[in-house]
């Protein structure tokens, strides 16, 4: 017997009656693209970017790898839902049903306790965005993407969809055409933001798409931690999430981007994340891919400057009905660059976890170092794991370590733990918690606790 408790736990499983000021027709057309741009009162260059993207989208086919998109009928997706709320800086000013949604998800509390600022997106629009005044005074910018287009046009023009061009793949093109919401962050030179900024994305309507764009520019010598969380109630119809994250880590800067993806299991999550790292910069991706029905996500770091560093830590969970095609890409372009990849997956109850990785060390990237480790644990015989790590090294002075392991949970370990009084399900859950621990401990503490709670619920719930 298996239960789908992992993402559909009661904490996320509620819908809110919402008042929308605008809901687009189903499907994707050029007139929809113009409509979105017009409603956002965008400058001409952004409309042009959208239209170019839309043309690319019409030309490009689905990727030839990854999840089956056969069930996904784009003609049934509502691309743009604008809640009847203006952007607020105080939770009290939000419509009550939206405020209650985020309160149930614990966002205002987290902001008070441990964040430098928080943003909250409800369907297509950011409804709340706030940053501590003292950071604002230091010049740190934390805005919804639409406001940034208007208030920081030069910065946005310089960076928007420059790490991931629309033509990258079909869904980056779709994203460029209909993006809505998301955050813009600029951290000035040598400013170190101590507490994280957090953005939370909530899909509340059936058959809807969410297309938020997150753009982070960490100027020279700055530091930032950014946390992204997301969830949706479960619907019978499919939902679509095609977000994009672009991060520019300038000379000597350091960015850590943590995600807990917890979409409901009716969601196609086709997401693109990429960082470009300049000299002596550091990029860290901490990814927890837990929810959704089908996911394709390969956070990418391009190590462009000398001594740039990347660290990719990921946990992927594939439960009943889930196909999670996740991984990482690290492209070493400069000398003495280094990267660490630690990707772990758990598959259970017939779930399928596929690790797809690329490590590319170019001819110029002499004296580089990389250690790639991908480990998959299958809880039962119905589940599936694959690993496809591709490593390409074009110079002879670099040092590469690679390790890939796929295994079932060990009967001997279970017996050992049971001999100390743990039930079979507790023993299994403990082994799984231990398996993810090295990555889980990198998450903000409330997410790590949540992760453990969900593992207990799912693993213990899935056994007899």
């Amino acid at each position: 017997m298996s239960r789908e408790a992992f993402v559909d736990s009661s904490r996320f499983e509620f819908t809110s009656r919402t008042d929308y000021s605008y809901v687009s027709e189903k499907g994707f057309t050029e007139s929809l693209v113009r409509e979105i741009s017009g409603r956002k009162d965008e400058p001409g260059w952004m409309l042009q970017l959208r239209l170019n993207s839309f043309r690319a989208f019409s030309r490009i086919h689905d990727p030839s790898f990854g999840v089956d998109t056969g069930l996904l009928d784009l003609g049934e997706i509502v691309a743009y839902l604008k809640p009847n709320a203006s952007r607020e800086r105080a939770w009290e000013d939000l419509p009550v049903e939206i405020r209650e949604t985020f309160e149930k998800l614990g966002i205002p509390e987290a902001e008070r306790n441990s964040l430098s600022g928080a943003g909250a997106q409800y369907d297509s629009e950011v409804v709340y965005q706030n940053i501590k005044r003292e950071l604002e005074e230091l010049g740190v910018v934390f805005l919804d993407m639409e406001s940034a287009v208007k208030e920081y046009p030069e910065l946005v023009k310089k960076y928007f969809m420059k790490a991931v061009p629309a033509t990258d793949h079909k869904y980056s093109a779709l994203h460029g055409a209909v993006w809505s919401g998301g955050s813009f962050v600029y951290v000035p030179k040598n400013i170190k933001v101590k507490q994280p900024l957090q953005a939370y994305f909530r899909m509340n309507a059936a058959s809807s798409g969410q297309f938020e764009h997150t753009l982070i520019v960490a100027d020279e010598g700055s530091e930032l931690q950014f946390i992204e969380g997301c969830s949706a109630p479960r619907f019978n119809e499919l939902n679509l999430h095609v977000g994009m994250v672009e991060i520019f880590v300038l000379k000597g800067a350091r960015v850590r981007y943590s995600t807990i993806q917890n979409w409901s299991k009716n969601t196609y999550n086709l997401n693109t994340k990429r960082a470009i790292v300049e000299e002596d910069g550091t990029m860290e991706w901490i990814s927890g891919s837990l929810g959704s029905m089908k996911t394709m996500l390969y956070p990418t770091t391009v190590l462009k400057g000398r001594r740039a560093r990347a660290e990719h830590l990921g946990i992927t969970y594939a439960g009943p009905g889930q196909h999670m095609d996740t991984g990482s890409k690290v492209i070493h372009l400069a000398p003495e660059t280094s990267s660490i990849v630690d990707a772990r997956s758990i598959s259970t109850g017939g779930g399928w976890a596929f690790y797809r990785g690329l490590l590319d060390i170019s001819e110029r990237a002499v004296n580089s170092k990389s250690a790639v480790q991908c480990t998959a644990m299958m809880i039962d015989n119905d589940s599936r794991s694959d690993t496809l790590p591709i490593i390409s090294v074009d110079n002879s002075s670099s040092n590469i370590g690679h390790e890939a392991r796929i295994g079932r949970i060990s009967e001997e370990q279970i017996f050992y733990l049971m001999s100390r009084g743990l039930s079979e399900s507790e023993a299994k859950a403990m082994i799984v918690r231990g398996f993810v621990e090295p990555v889980a401990k990198q998450f903000p503490v409330e997410y790590a606790v949540e992760l453990n709670r969900l593992i207990n619920l799912e693993i213990e719930g899935s056994i007899g």
Binding site: S419, R420, G421, L422, E424, A427, E437, P438
Partner: protein, 250 residues
């Protein structure tokens, strides 16, 4: 009433249906130490695993009774809750789970409701008693432990969880003399009127430090001879060959 009563126990390896326990009889009273000695490959460890309910094996006839409770149908964790415990010849490594938090969780399952702080203090004290490096308590369970450290970890677990009946499976293998002395001391101090101990060992060396009340010679899946501590010394001098032969003649 005996604390542990094993009567005419037969068991097979599930995978091959090969019989690996061929009618074992053992009675252990509270306060007693029994040594089970036998040559390599005689199935002594298997006996420990069958007592603990390892699902690789199936009991085909006979019975195991602990403190009046028939363990026959109980799973491994239920046996642990009845007070059964074994130390492993090769303790498993569990990455990501710290020995301290594991012991606190396991003792909770066994009904110890003390506060985690109290438990934590006891674990620290036991690790000092066993000259078990205190840092190891906060490392992942058995991961990267040396052979001797793993054995000490087993003994710390035994002392902390306070079972009624312990089976120490080759606790002496791979230990240097100093570690053997430490572990022997812990076993002797653990011994009480509330528990019984079975030492499974290949060598007589351990029995110089932990003196058993009874010695059983175990060959090819059953006990072929029983006696007092003298029997161990006799085996040390003349080996197991005699018993193997006598069995074949039967």
């Amino acid at each position: 009433m005996s604390l542990l009563r094993v009567e005419n126990l037969h068991a097979v390896l599930k995978e091959s249906m090969e019989e690996i326990l061929k009618g074992v009889n053992v009675k252990v009273n509270s306060g007693e130490i029994h040594a089970i000695m036998g040559p390599n490959g005689s199935g002594k460890s298997t006996f420990a695993h069958v007592l603990m309910g390892n699902p690789k094996f199936k009991v085909t006839s006979g019975s195991i009774t602990l403190d009046g409770v028939d363990l026959g149908d109980l799973s491994t964790d239920e046996r642990a809750k009845q007070g059964m415990f074994m130390t492993f010849q090769h303790p498993q490594e569990i990455p990501g789970i710290r020995l301290r938090s594991f012991l606190i969780a396991a003792s909770g399952e066994l009904g110890n409701m003390e506060s985690p702080i109290m438990k934590s203090r006891k674990i620290d004290r036991l690790s000092i008693d066993n000259s078990f490096d205190k840092d190891l308590v906060d490392r992942y369970l058995n991961v990267g432990f040396s052979g001797g450290e793993k054995k000490k970890s087993e003994i710390v677990q035994m002392q902390f969880l306070k079972p009624k009946l312990v089976v120490l499976d080759e606790i002496d293998s791979g230990l240097d003399v100093d570690a053997l002395k430490v572990i022997s001391k812990s076993i002797n101090s653990f011994r009480s009127e509330r528990n019984g101990i079975i030492l499974i060992t290949h060598y007589e060396r351990l029995l110089e430090y932990v003196v058993p009340d009874y010695v059983h010679v175990y060959v090819d899946g059953s006990v072929v001879a029983s006696g007092g501590p003298d029997l161990a010394r006799e085996i040390q001098q003349s080996g197991y060959e005699r018993y193997a032969v006598s069995l074949r003649e039967v």
